[in-house]
Subunit: 234 residues, 2 copies
DNA sequence: TCAAAAGTGTTGGGGATACACCCATGG
DNA sequence: CCATGGGTGTATCCCCAACACTTTTGA
């Protein structure tokens, strides 16, 4: 069944990774890690983390593995984004890339490993990247911003427990607009997926906010998308 | 850069094709064409139309080509669905399938080519198919039913011009529930994407309905998704 | 003139937005 | 006691579902 000509097309897996970090002015914005290419083609350019698909490894596992390899982190959210296969997207060979996108906990990302060949950059102001990776990240950003509005994924940027102000800051950073705290609170509570921990966060010079936890069991079968696991592979 | 072990994974493109056809009771329901496998593995089973990806062919073009090969039709809507790559989804070899989904005009589909190895079946009551193709079609159905509710793709089942009753019948068939004609009319008009042709459809024993046309130019840049062309490749 | 579908009008409820206002804490 | 963010109350708007009602045709 295999034809000789097929040997020319290679299959790769790449991952767009998002975390929230403060920018120069202190506001939270989206950052993404890139790796420097040490080989041709496009040597020296920054590119998405990824690699060839090992024949015995699941696609999602390969995505989580490259994520861990470049950041030292485990994804809190991981989903297939799109498969890019333009004939001319890589010079010299036909490369089809199955691309995933991931969200990682922001405080973990702050102490994520970096090195001369790994660099975090603001996702909205990218330099010129290798191949079609600019387009890919733009698409991932579009998907993230869309999905945040109808799916409950924002908590993936946060730890186990969080305040509504922290959660709101995630939404504001992703959507790039400020939200009314009062209405935001009601929307989140109305979703039925936040559980009070009973604890509060003290220390700030004002009324201490309640701490919440995201309740995975409250996701109904109707609203769940196919192929969406709670704990992504790692 | 290629490693010898990669030669074991094969890349295929398959397409889930939808058209509306009357079922035994005369109501419009979704149908999809399947092809009988004439080789191992899974010989004799019905499967999605598809084939290996030729190294010099774009993914979307390959999808449109297999669509044409099995139905003789050109897609009115074509979009990438998902890439399936489970290690064990095909016995004997690692096969990664980039799957597309397509909508074809229903009156064309009625006279679509069929043969001993091509068969149209109701998409909601499938027999046991080859590989993981049942799961794939279920996912495509889920996507179609979701997308019909927020994107304007229903007209892809119809011809150049159509009445609001015909368009409503599409929605009702896809969503499997009846819709209020009065409210449906207002929603569609409010979308701003229907243009009156000025003509009416006569012949029935009642008030002749207006004929409309879908206005592709009315799609704003903000609402458009990345990678979505108006005329799919053929 | 009648049946049936096309098309219009009207009403009420639910959710989102805007914003006024009170609460609780550290300094 | 004051500044600050946490948290509640409430009026308004808009979209949508429900449904009564009028219009227009072929038979």
């Amino acid at each position: 069944m295999p034809q000789p000509s097929d040997l020319l097309t290679r299959l790769a897996v790449s991952t767009v990774i998002f975390a929230l970090r403060p920018d120069h002015s202190g506001r939270s914005v989206l950052w993404t890690p890139l790796v420097r290419r040490t080989r041709e083609p496009q040597r020296g350019y920054w590119a998405l983390p990824g690699g060839w698909l090992p024949p015995n490894e699941e696609l999602e596992v390969a995505a989580a593995r490259t994520l861990r390899a470049t950041t030292g982190l485990a994804p809190k959210y991981l989903e297939q984004l799109y498969t890019f296969g333009q004939v001319d997207r890589s010079p010299g060979a036909r490369v089809v890339s199955v691309v995933y996108w991931a969200l990682v906990q922001s405080d973990e990302a702050a102490r994520a490993s970096a090195g001369p060949n790994v660099r975090w950059v603001p996702a909205d102001t990218l330099p010129a990247l290798a191949f079609d990776h600019n387009r890919i990240i733009e698409y991932a950003l579009w998907r993230l911003r869309n999905k945040v509005e109808y799916a409950e994924i924002a908590h993936a940027f946060l730890g186990e427990t969080f305040t509504l102000a922290e959660l709101r800051e995630v939404y504001e950073a992703v959507l790039q607009r400020s939200l009314d705290p009062a209405n935001f609170r009601r929307q989140m509570i109305a979703s039925g997926r936040l559980r009070e921990t009973g604890e509060r966060l003290a220390g700030a010079p004002h009324r201490p906010p309640r701490l919440y936890r995201y309740d995975t069991s409250a996701v109904t079968a109707e609203s769940r998308e196919p192929f969406m696991r709670e704990r992504p592979a790692s």
